[in-house]
Symmetry: C2
Subunit: 193 residues, 2 copies
Amino acid sequence: MTDPAPARRPGGRTARVRADVHRAVEELLREQPLAQLTIAQIAERSGVHQGTLYRRWQSLDGLLLDVVTEHLVRHSPMPDTGTLAGDLEQYARQTLDDLSGPQGKLLLRTLVAVRQGPESEAELPPALLRRYDELQALLDRAAARGEHPPTVQDVVDLIVAPMYTGLLLDGTPGDEDTARRLVDRIHRLSQTS
Amino acid sequence: MTDPAPARRPGGRTARVRADVHRAVEELLREQPLAQLTIAQIAERSGVHQGTLYRRWQSLDGLLLDVVTEHLVRHSPMPDTGTLAGDLEQYARQTLDDLSGPQGKLLLRTLVAVRQGPESEAELPPALLRRYDELQALLDRAAARGEHPPTVQDVVDLIVAPMYTGLLLDGTPGDEDTARRLVDRIHRLSQTS
């Protein structure tokens, strides 16, 4: 996390375009509701040509999915409390917080939008793929300490999935009790395996 | 299920409007892709005025959510195999089948659409609420036989939620192994409580 390297050089034109577009969308979303956002506005604000935006992200929803997952991952670093129990509890609370705000609804909307139509087999956005790797690292640290961690699939099924589904079906990912209840389930399951 | 009563009388004007609209949408969806469907077409085909459609369902997505949940519930009756294990296994397989087809994506899309914006606290469609009641009845039958069933919340969290989330994140609710794995988890958890 605390990289001792000197100021990083930008990663070339592609990375600069991406950073400019992300910044433009976050700015625009502070000024106006999401529903009014257009690709034309993002092009104007970021200084990136509309054609480039469509080539890179295919659609407005694809672009927004990229922005929202990047935002969530950047603002919710993976916990590293020193114990599996502490890490899972903090992870559950953070996920709940992330999904509770307007970002949660935006995440659902854009995930569903890119899952419709022919591009439905599209890869997950880079930030979500990185998230899986970080979660695996969290579980590996627990195993290295001699704890008996669940798998990434278990964590997604038992913590993330009920929150997504609560948001879908009830309009909310849950409350404090939900986070506690879901983490408790993971611990109980680990006793049976 | 096998109601001995003579031919039922239609439930009045509201029920007739609903039946006409559902029939019209199912017909239209056999003729053309969903993305081209409009409220105007549904009004024309069903003979129900556009104003009535908007008053009743607020939006095209609200209307489609009602149609798709009604369709899923009607075509996937709750299992009643005589054992809790048999019922849960069949329920998991059916849910997987239901979500695997085009109906699964339609369900996600319309659920998310009605969860956006101010109407996000809207009630679930009647068919989904009925579904919860039917699931409760399935679990009550198991308890009456002396089995130790999970709660409705457990079934939603442990069977339904990972399938919805698989559909969202990977474009598929899972495969045969998924159904088996999720039911196995419920059984393992019941041994810990």
